[in-house]
């Protein structure tokens, strides 16, 4: 119970990234193996491998499109749509735990090695971490952190701009996103960038409830 509470509370707040709560489970109830005897780590590795098998440029572009929406999209001045697609895919693989940030293969799914964190906090929670890597919500949050750290900005637009983009034809919307990902000036209701908030927090003067 204590572990569940700690996990939930620590998940509730992370650097520049907003709250995402993964349903924390007490360690004993975390399924270390499913009915077929497969561990979460093995399922995550299989999922990552399967994902990489289907990596055509078209597929990557289609997947990367998911984070270019009427309501919010990424922007980095001077970037091209192809660069966006490439970095999105890189961050996707990093968030999956199947690539290091420098592009190498990781130890994460290597059964000959002991994952530092997973081993440090027990097999049950270690399995929960592997399960969490599989989960789409956490992947999305971590992918976003990865992109922000690489200099991308997440732009959230106001309702009027959202309606304007939504009213575009498919071709016009595609052209809009092709240009907006690298635009120097982008108006937005909210612009998120990476800040070193974990090490150098910009705390509010008042900390009231």
């Amino acid at each position: 119970m204590l572990l569940s509470m700690a996990l939930a509370s620590s998940l509730a707040a992370a650097q520049d990234v907003r709250t995402v709560t993964i349903p924390a489970q007490p360690a004993p109830s975390v399924p270390l193996r499913d009915a077929s005897g497969t561990t979460p780590q093995a399922r995550a590795a299989a999922a990552a491998a399967a994902m990489e098998d289907e990596e055509s440029a078209e597929k990557i572009a289609e997947e990367a499109q998911r984070d270019l929406r009427e309501s919010r999209f990424y922007n980095r001045p001077g970037a091209t749509r192809a660069q966006y697609n490439e970095e999105w895919q890189t961050c996707r693989l990093i968030a999956r735990g199947s690539r290091t940030p420098t592009g190498g293969m990781t130890y994460v799914y290597n059964p000959a090695l002991v994952s530092p964190l997973a081993a440090g906090i027990g097999a049950g929670i270690g399995a929960a971490i592997a399960q969490a890597i599989i989960e789409a919500r956490m992947r999305r949050v971590n992918r976003r952190a990865c992109l922000l750290i690489r200099g991308w900005r997440l732009i959230e637009v106001d309702d009027a701009e959202k309606a304007r983009i939504a009213a575009m034809s498919d071709a016009a919307r595609e052209a809009f996103f092709n240009s907006i990902v690298g635009a120097n000036e982008v108006g937005g209701r909210r612009v998120r960038t990476w800040n070193n908030d974990f090490a150098a927090p910009r705390l509010a003067a008042a900390q009231g409830e």
Binding site: A13, A14, I94, T100, A145, W194, F198, A200, A206
Partner: protein
Amino acid sequence: MRRLAIAAGALALAVSAAAPASAQLRVERRANLAAPVELGRNQGAILVGFRRPDAISARRHGAVGFARYDVEARDVIAQPRGARRAGDTNTYWVLAKSGDRTLESDHALMIVSAGDYVLFGAAPTRILDNTFCLGAPTFRVNPGEVVYFGDVTPYQNVRFEDGHRANAMAYSADLDAARAALQSAPALAAAVRPAELRNGATFGCVAQNMLSYAVPGAPELPPAPAPAPAEAAPAPSAPGTGS
């Protein structure tokens, strides 16, 4: 009966003497400074402070994790399975936890094998669930050195200027206070030096929150060389070979 007890005692001593003195694969307990502390051969130490200078950090716990790091490969060196049986004397994982949370500051001295380390994660609780795999400070511990990483201030679910709430482990450094914390062990206090921190050390991500942590003012690691197309995961280091 007495003879049996003596024999058991001798056996225990023999087993104790046979165990490698520096076999610390995972270091999760701070050194007890109330007793004499000596560094073994090829050992050094990491000194971490937990500071609580204000109301929002007061009485907060904290935990800081370090992992053995391969600067060239830009990845952590994970503990090989069976390392203990193989007589491996490397330290692969260090978890420094805060002590008495009623104190304004307390310091954890973690004895480790010499080598490169990276700040793996940190949290304002006693359980670590995050990783700074997207960028973290790395530093070297040489034999005989007590390397002062710095202090962290645990902030849990605090409000930021823009209104959002999040955790933080604010970095600061006070070398004099760190040395003073080791006053009961003058030899160790004399061996204290500040860590030569370099930001931007990345590694494979495994945790629920994947973050980045940059020590203000520390230089960046040079860019990593591009990986070979079919680069394999870093091989575990051979037992006892250091970093």
